[in-house]
Amino acid sequence: MSDTAAIVAQCEAMFEDLSFTGVRAWKAAVPGRKVVGFMPFYVPRELIHAAGALPFGILGGGDQLEVIHGDAYYQSYICRIPRSTIELAVTGKLDMVDAMLFPSICDVIRNLSGMWKIMFPKVKARYLDVPQNFRADIGGTFYRGELGELRAMLAELTGKPATDDDLRASIRAYNANRRLVREVYAFRAAEPWKAPSSEVYLVMRAGMVLPVETHSKLLADYLAAAKASDRPKRDNSRIIVSGAFCEQPPLNLIKSIELAGCYIVDDDFMLVNRWEQSDVAEQGDPLAALADSYLRDSADTAAKYEPDQARKGRYLVELVKKRGAEGVIFAAPSFCDPALLERPMLQRVLASHDIPYIAFKYAENSGQMQPIREQAGTFADSIKLWS
């Protein structure tokens, strides 16, 4: 068993590697392997896995990438992630990617799917629409059809059509991975001093570039090491971070929140790791199982319609209760339509349940952390005063 430091260092190296050496190595190991990139917030990775390809989560360029060409495609009032993603691509850092998937998260990522078709014609780019109607016979039927088309596209890409058995095997692999992800989250909520959020973040982030089996092993190792670790418990406030489901905050921002006296006991970074909140059925029609899971038990986020006004924002209140959180930090990327339009509604729901919150904006390359530390620190202190 490794200690947490070694595991985290390994994850941090992957996180900082903007050439994605690991993904390249995976591809080069066996001739004919394909890499399928995807943007936040969710894609059915099981389909990619079953087709023998590597799902590769692309979450922008972070705070170490100088963006020149990517900026040339975007006005100043558009968020950072599409420009840094284009920068990665035009500078050859994504040249091992054979196909790109763009989920229906917002109009910027949606339009990026079309830009990709024009700018990188050799890469198969596809927009993935997920249903906003949650009836099995309407949204479910449509989504199963979308999944079928995606399956066909991937079969064409890899030359290896995924059978239903392949898909069921992939569902099992991802179910196992998601169970571990949930365990890590539950453990962090229970003993946050043993699993700092900056570590959990890096461990989760590794899942964007590693094959699922490897990532599952890493999660298990980390969990065991974290449980065994002996770190001092601090008198921190317990908070949930909400709104960071697409463009990622800099690691420094996550660290700053913790340093300011907050334990992050839940968050919405990289929702794709835990989009399905319970196991996807491992028997029967695998596409129907994925569709059913989407409709019935997927995570709530701003990109998803809530048909029932009475339930709007309830998930956050429930999460606060489940995790024993004392407040919510709304951290949204600047110019993020989904997060910023959603925020006032969530805030009103929290207010009606007397749950305190603060809000700020960031960019993936935000440099100054002083205001974040001040706000989070004041928030942590005020929670302690109120309680």
Binding site: Y77, N111, M115, M119, Y127, I138, Q309, R343, Q347
Partner: protein
């Protein structure tokens, strides 16, 4: 910033008066709805289902149009600030904020009377992510019935059978039963067919109007004038005899202008000599609409085709509402709106416009509020320049936020662009660009 001249200075043709009456009547219908026991639906312009709404005797309220009205009346700035004061980010769509600000400030319509609370929000989710959040926000306040109609995006450049089936099924299983429940009116498909038949008539004349801009000189301005021409057909009038009559009048007037070799009509009177023919991508700015237009006609620049006039349907590519396939044709209509088409299709369309309308180039008015339009426009610009060899230019404004309209900045870019076109035209001669 120039003030509107007194009404007497503005040239009004019969079609304009007709439209004015129609809009005023609709606002009266809305403000009197509760008193008359009429139920009210709110919905969006792209993919709006006016014919279907009329089948249930519902009054049709369009928040985007309210925001535009407030923008043109210079009220939107104050309303947006009101919404921002209430916790909305300065980063997000100003249509939404102008609407929420208006709701917070007594919800007064342009006629000065309060707009009614909606009984149903028909969330036609077509081509714009923000629509979904917008009506979640409105619903939060009114707690009224909300019907989501999810229209899939044409990511691969075309609608598929699966998409169409999905939309039709939602119409049958969600939208129609929902509207029946709210209105108490039973759905009658023959009534819908009748409205669609009426729509198709107006659509034919509307397309004739748009395509008249292929002439030299163009008898219309397809952007600044165009936003008036799309009024009835994109809003609460499509499918009514009023709309049909409006387009008949309009067609007559334009035919007369063509016969006399006249250019477009502008608020300041007749257009001078046509010097530049432009295609424009993106919505207009509404808070300084007339100043913005004036910058164009002062320079002799006429817009011969625009994409904004396609947000409520691409009739010029042949789509017509079809009484023989009522629900399918509504589905196709929703799927085919401009902002629901993928970026390569949008570029193809603009390229076609530049060629078909013999334009000198493309001007992009990039709107801060509208990522659906704006994200990717700089690639659109490059591609159009590359494919057509015609110069393109980029200006930046907003829909209804007066803080984002800098007249000097816009004028500087526009004039530079037009002079660049002029210079290129003369490029071959030795006394270049005098």
């Amino acid at each position: 910033m120039s003030q509107k001249p007194p009404a007497a200075d503005v040239v009004k043709e019969p079609s304009m008066l007709k439209q004015k009456e129609m809009i005023e009547a609709n606002y009266e219908r809305l403000s009197g709805a509760k008193a008359q026991g009429r139920k009210v639906a709110s919905t969006f312009v792209p993919g709006n289902l006016n014919e279907l709404i009329m089948c249930f005797d519902l009054a049709n309220n369009l928040p985007e149009i309210n925001a535009i009205q407030n923008g043109m009346r210079k009220k939107s700035g104050m309303l947006i600030m009101e919404a921002e004061k209430r916790g909305h980010s300065e980063d997000v769509c100003t249509y939404v904020k102008a609407d929420l600000g208006m709701m917070a400030k007594g919800n007064l319509g342009p006629n000065g009377k309060p707009l009614p609370e909606p009984d149903v929000l028909l969330l036609s989710y077509t081509g714009c992510f923000t629509f979904m959040k917008w009506f979640e926000l409105v619903r939060e306040q009114y707690k009224c019935e909300t019907l989501m109609l999810h229209v899939p995006y044409e990511g691969e450049g075309h609608a598929t059978k699966s998409m169409r089936d999905y939309v039709v099924k939602q119409l049958k299983e969600v939208v129609i039963p929902g509207l029946e429940k709210v209105s108490g009116v039973k759905f009658d498909i023959d009534r819908l067919r009748q409205y669609l038949r009426e729509s198709a008539k107006a659509e034919d004349d509307f397309v004739w109007v748009l395509e008249s801009a292929k002439r030299r000189p163009s008898p219309i301005d397809a952007y600044f004038g165009g936003v008036y021409y799309i009024g009835p057909i994109f809003t609460a009038f499509r499918g009514t005899p009023d709309a049909t009559e409006y387009y008949r009048l309009l067609r007559q007037e334009i035919a007369a202008r063509i016969a006399q070799g006249q250019g477009p009509i502008t608020p300041e009177g007749d257009f001078g000599q046509e010097k530049y023919r432009l295609v424009v991508e993106g919505p207009p700015n509404w808070t300084s609409f007339r100043d913005f237009w004036k910058m164009f006609h002062d320079e002799g620049a006429v817009v011969v085709a625009s994409t904004y006039t396609k947000v409520g349907g691409l009739y010029d590519l042949g789509f017509r509402h079809d009484p023989d396939h009522p629900l399918e044709s509504l589905a196709d209509y929703c799927l085919g709106c401009y902002t629901n088409r993928n970026l390569p299709s949008r570029i193809d369309l603009i390229e076609k416009y530049v060629r078909d309308y013999e334009a000198d180039g493309l001007l992009i008015n990039s709107i801060k509020s509208c990522n659906s339009f704006s994200a990717g426009q700089l690639l659109v610009l490059r591609e159009i320049e590359r494919r057509t060899g015609k110069p393109a230019a980029f200006i930046e404004t907003d829909l209804v936020d007066p803080r984002y309209f800098s007249a000097a900045n816009v004028k500087n870019r526009l004039e530079s662009y037009l002079q660049m076109i002029e210079q290129k035209r003369r490029g071959a001669s030795p006394r270049a660009a005098a």
